[in-house]
Symmetry: C2
Subunit: 395 residues, 2 copies
């Protein structure tokens, strides 16, 4: 009864979402406190108080017709201006309100950007490990994923392997730094080398290659230095941003695309993104959330809470003998499986530890642990992880 | 720099949205009170007070992690149950929470439903005049629109012409009653005949044909009888609903799909819609709005206000000599052009009357007037309409 494409997608499924549903099932059986659900990137730090205050203020002070009505597909002018100004203040960029398209989260934004630029059969380069949903987004727009193989143990892109992935059909590259699932933050040098390759390949093939920078974790950084702002390194960058992690609003579906005037064909591209927002059925980003986040752009999530989790879990796992890249951002640990990935995920599940196999991220033989959970849960889970280590290392 | 498909869509454009933007431009020049913008279906009746109250209550009383976090892609269980119960109470249906998928408006829902069922090249029947965006939604999923010609002056579907549109590739039919752009409400008899044809064609081709019933105007009815509930007439119905018009929340992007257990392959179909919600980048319907609308399902919009507009404008236009079907629902008048459609739209614009040509709805030679505006604006616009009549009828 359903389409062939959908059947295929459903049979491969989303291991992340399946594990999230499994967690809810197990919690009903064993009690929530006895299930260690590390499956989903659902923030454990509540939204800043100001979000709730601003939502209520906007409801009280705004004419409901303006508040809940249609606006230009690209979003409220005031919201777009606030976002542009905030980016400029933080990164020395020069966005104006016309460079911003408000979107239904970053997932919505990525679909919009791909719809705007991809012709049937165009290739989009992704760098493993990567959020597996990119494959679906690319396919939605008629494109084909080309995967740069993973580069352990640093998981920074291997730029030689990257360069080899380009063909005359390459239309875009998607990167995600700080990275899901590794937590790795791409350094300035790597971004520079990648930018040079993309510029050279654009010239070589006479074909503008856009960089789609998926940045929901931009502010989730565990060092004093902010992560490099990708768009400062490559003119043809389409920034895809979400407030899901930085303001803990994943269920609200609010984010934006930012496209600089320096991007080739920027005016037409931005207009196309507005049209794609409309025809894909998003129509516009949720209006109330637009008006609330525009007043909360300087709000920060409680990065200390995630850092506390990161330190505890990372050091414990290392102590138990696991290999893992030390994450500098996001809220994931990417751990090498001492046994077959599938068996490792199963063994963990027997101990009520829910984690997602690296295969879902184009990187077999690893697991992702989303440590955006309560600190208490990590404490409670440590004996189970220790037990897991004993079991798998004795095999 | 943008895709070929997008270039084509942009060159044909959305006349509705273009006129909406034009209205904002003209208002800046001539003053808002001197521009008669009848372009967009943006409700002029504010959201019921209870919406604002419930939004604030939910913000105050809900743990922000639950309120703003991810939930199952199909939506909050409590919201889905409330929607199902409300439908059952009103229409004697038997939906459960598992039959409901919360969506990013009806536009999001229609894209989700089409993605779930359409194979490349499948045909989807639409009945002119129809919301032109359906063509894009169908194309997004790889399908092809097949158009039943318009049937003036009643604009009820010509069921013989309808029957002739079916082929072995027909996968779905989209209907929209009360109708945008005509305001016509399909009667029970018409729905019965259409259902029989769809059932017969499903049998003939051995291919389940789904009816996608786009119902944002379901409650906008100007008689004492509610509009027939389409799903009661055909088991394989996918209801696409939006709270945009009934609760005046178009900017918030909140709606749902309802699929009965009686639909063939219902379980798989509902699961596919959840997956489509995820992979198309919607992920889920905005969380705060889900929890607010679940408490406002018995709220009603101020139908009297629209009715007052309808009566005044309809009788005035008839008096000036225009031909027009008397609408029983929605908030549109569909008026026959006394001169070439394009010229008529232009002549109207010279008088600061903004209306959309019927070509945008697959029905050349008409214009749509969206009377979801203030009553004062209609009063002020009448002399301009009268002048327009004098000009065009003297040609």
């Amino acid at each position: 009864m359903i389409s062939e494409k959908m059947k295929k997608i459903m049979s491969s499924g989303s291991a992340i979402r399946a594990m999230f549903e499994e967690g809810k099932r197990l919690a009903a059986i064993y009690g929530k406190e006895n299930v260690y659900d590390f499956s989903l990137g659902n923030p454990s730090v509540p939204a800043p108080k100001k979000i709730g205050e601003e939502l209520k203020r906007v409801i009280d002070e705004t004419d409901p017709l303006a508040l809940h009505g249609y606006m230009t597909n690209n979003g409220f002018s005031s919201t777009r201006k606030a976002v542009a100004d905030n980016l400029n203040k933080r990164y020395g960029s020069s966005y104006g309100e016309d460079n911003i398209v408000m979107t239904v989260g970053a997932a919505g934004g990525l679909n919009v950007a791909l719809k705007a630029i991809i012709n049937e059969g165009d290739e989009v380069i992704v760098i493993a490990p990567y959020f597996g949903e990119y494959d679906n987004y690319i396919s939605n727009a008629g494109g084909v994923s080309v995967v740069v193989p993973p580069n352990p143990p640093t998981f920074l892109p291997n730029t030689e392997a990257f360069e080899k992935c380009f063909t005359p059909k390459t239309r875009a590259v998607i990167i995600n730094t700080p990275n899901n699932p590794t937590g790795v933050v791409y350094d300035e040098y790597t971004l520079k080398v990648m930018s040079k390759i993309m510029a050279r390949k654009s010239d070589e093939y006479g074909n503008t290659i856009y960089l789609i920078s998926d940045e929901p974790y931009r502010e989730l950084i565990y060092s004093d230095e902010p992560a490099p702002f990708v768009a400062n390194h490559y003119d043809n960058t389409i920034v895809g941003y979400s407030f899901s992690k930085s303001l803990s609003l994943p269920g609200e579906r609010i984010g934006y695309l930012a496209i600089s005037d320096r991007a080739e064909g920027s005016k037409e591209l931005i207009a196309a993104c507005g049209v794609a927002t409309r025809i894909l059925g998003f129509v516009n980003a949720p209006s109330l959330q637009q008006l609330a986040v525009e007043k909360c752009l300087d709000e920060k999530t409680d990065i200390e809470a995630y850092d506390k989790n990161r330190r505890l879990l990372y050091s414990a796992l290392k102590e138990y003998g696991f290999e893992c890249v030390r994450p500098d951002g996001a809220f994931y640990l990417f751990v090498k499986c001492p046994i077959e990935e599938k068996d490792f995920v199963e063994e963990a599940k027997k101990l009520n530890i829910l984690i997602v196999g690296g295969s879902s991220f184009g990187c077999e033989g690893y697991v992702r642990i989303a440590y955006c959970v309560s600190h208490d849960m990590i404490r409670s889970a440590l004996p189970a992880f220790e037990k897991l280590a004993k079991e798998v290392f004795s095999k």
